[in-house]
Amino acid sequence: MPQMNMVQAINDALRLELKRDPRVVLLGEDIGKVGGVFRVTQDLYKEFGADRVIDTPLSEGGIIGAAIGMALYGLRPVPEIQFSDFIFPAFDQIVSELAKFRYRSGGEFPAKMVIRTPVGGGIRGGHYHSQSPEAYFIHTPGLKVVCPSNPYDAKGLLLAALRDDDPVMFFEPKRVYRAARSEVPEGDYTVPLSQAKVVRPGQHVTVLAWGAMLYEAIEAANQAAAQGVDTEVIDLRTLWPVDIDTIVASVKKTGRVVVVHEAPKTCGFGAELIALINEKAFLHLEAPPVRVTGYDTPFPYTLEMDYLPLAGRILPALIETARY
């Protein structure tokens, strides 16, 4: 089985789907000849041509608005937003239009598409190349939100998202685009949406993470093991609708939970996860649930490694929660 990084795995998924489904159209800024600023769409322009891998004008609102029209026609557009920090000019089209189309039209106009966009910090990108805006979209009824952590899942989840009947926000953790490598099967396979994965079973405390921060959670769990704390690490993979059963089963087992995310703490997805855990497993909790997250500041440049919830900040949370 070939080894791939996440960039290659996503590229492979897009190629497969472009071949398999003539309705699939890629559009975005710089995705054609140059293959995207992260080279995720490398060579697809050469293989499928300018009509299916479209270099658009520099306008996120235009890209998503036009993609919605394509979707209403019956195509399966896959717009790329170059950085998720730049998604806000398209926010109205995503939140007021894409997410509501099926509902507001009584089911007459489903708008199916996958919006791909790199997410997260740790690449020395400052405010506008580092943010994690997933909570805005999780908060919007009608959208699904996915964030893979590794190449195998990235390919399988993307293929599942491309075949899903709902609009999917597909956040690609750019910090591990090339750092994470894994065996990726050639050819077609899917990783079902809304299924989390227990990546490290444990007995004492549960840590919920996704995307690039999963690796920090695993690193912290390994360090905690040296101190006698056995951590269960769960990769959520799909953020919404979240796999509540896997989370609740784990928390019922460990009685303790730590949530890790890069986005600011207040009203971040961690808040919702802890509220759900309180609703569904309160009597099993043996310690207050804890969030280890980005701070409620704009994403900083020089001090970004202090901002990010890296293993060094997760470890004490695991130990303290386990020993509470």
Binding site: V25, D51, G65, G69, Q93, E97, R104, P241
Partner: protein, 373 residues
């Protein structure tokens, strides 16, 4: 390519006396002209009835097309059966012309159990896929880029369908207008941009929307054909829209049409124009009403007379009355419908919330099919 920077010409066909200029006359067959005039009258009567129903508290809202019927129905009438309309929110007359039954429209006005959008949107936010008519949303201009994407997809697939998108002059200030015009220009999409310049975006006059001398001239910056037309002239609107559709179908790309018209009412039933309009100005605009002009045309052609108008008015009144009664009798949508169509299949959290709603006490006074509230 146009070289003129400002468009001074305004395409007009019908004089106030109902005589058509042979140079621009689209030469409608008599039965088509009568059908369109009857539909114009039907739209006007329905509009007036809906305002009354709102004033009586029987429907919650109406956003009408009083005075703008020619530049809504003309473009719609110019379309082929496979062309699409992407509406703003004043185009109920076009939707009915495309074939939505009156009852279905009134069920939408009442948000009742028979409403095609299941009571999920406020009145006049209809959806008409069977009639190749998009779904209405309130945010300004969002349909413009969507229409461009839709017609672009049609072009990619070799489908000859053209998309007609309606918006007001206020929407030309939105980013969506720029995005849509720019994409359409770059990809030469078969899109007809129909800007109804009725002079007012709620209370803000057109002069405050732009420093451009005309709205049409904006097209030149996008490498697009532009035309200005008398929006109170049904025949002129048919003529310029037909030309634009044919250009689109021939692969010559999009057209921006500026239809110059007047809003002979408030923005909607929620608006009181007395605060920002003066009576003399409105009287002058009423004198340019598109309906008497079209009536003069069909009468002059010997296609229409007072007896026919009286009979048609009575027939329409009766149809509206019966449809209103039926819409008022229909129940509200069932509670479970609130939780459907959010996703293709209902996820766990919505199943939980639906169960919660079904256990909750039902509030009184709101959510009825329409009767009496």
């Amino acid at each position: 390519m146009q070289t003129q920077f400002v468009l001074d010409d305004v395409v007009t066909v019908l004089g106030p006396d109902g005589v058509a200029d042979p140079a621009t006359d689209p030469k409608l067959p008599g039965e088509t002209a009568v059908k369109l005039f009857k539909h114009m009258l039907f739209t006007r009567l329905l509009d007036e009835r809906l305002v009354l129903l709102q004033r009586q508290g029987r429907i919650g809202f109406h956003i009408g097309s009083l005075g703008e019927e020619a530049c809504i129905l003309g473009p719609a009438a110019a379309l082929g059966d496979d062309d699409w309309i992407w509406p703003c929110y004043r185009e109920f007359g076009a939707l009915l012309l495309r074939g939505m039954p009156l009852q279905t429209y009134l069920d939408n006005m009442y948000g009742n159990a028979n409403d095609a959008v299941k009571g999920r949107q406020m009145p006049d936010h209809y959806s008409g896929r069977p009639y190749k008519f998009g779904s209405v949303s309130s945010p300004i201009g969002t349909q413009i880029t969507q229409a461009v994407g839709f017609s672009w997809a049609a072009k990619m697939k070799g489908d000859p369908s053209v998309s007609l998108v309606f918006f007001g002059e206020g929407a030309t200030s939105s980013s969506e207008f720029h995005n849509g015009m720019n994409f359409a220009g770059v990809y030469k999409t078969p899109t007809v941009f129909l800007c109804r310049n009725n002079g007012w975006a709620i209370s803000v006059p057109a002069a405050n929307q732009t420093a451009s001398q005309t709205f049409a001239q904006k097209a030149f910056a996008y490498g697009m054909t532009a035309v200005r037309a008398d929006g109170n002239d049904l025949l002129a609107m048919i003529k310029v829209t037909r030309d634009a559709i044919e250009r689109g179908r021939r692969g010559e790309g999009p057209t921006l049409i500026e239809a110059i018209t007047h809003r002979l009412s408030g923005h909607s039933t929620s608006d009181d124009p007395k605060a920002y309009r003066n009576e003399a100005e409105m009287a002058a605009e009423r004198a340019k009403d598109p309906m008497p002009r079209m009536r003069a045309y069909v009468v002059a052609q010997g296609l229409w007379d007072d007896t026919q108008e009286k009979a048609w008015t009575e027939q329409v009144d009766g149809e509206i009355k019966r449809a209103v009664e039926a819409a008022e009798k229909a129940p509200a949508p069932a509670l479970h419908t609130m939780f459907e169509d959010v996703y293709a299949t209902q996820p766990w959290h919505l199943a939980e919330q639906q169960a919660e709603a079904e256990r909750a006490p039902r509030p009184a006074g709101h959510g009825g099919g329409g009767g009496g509230h």
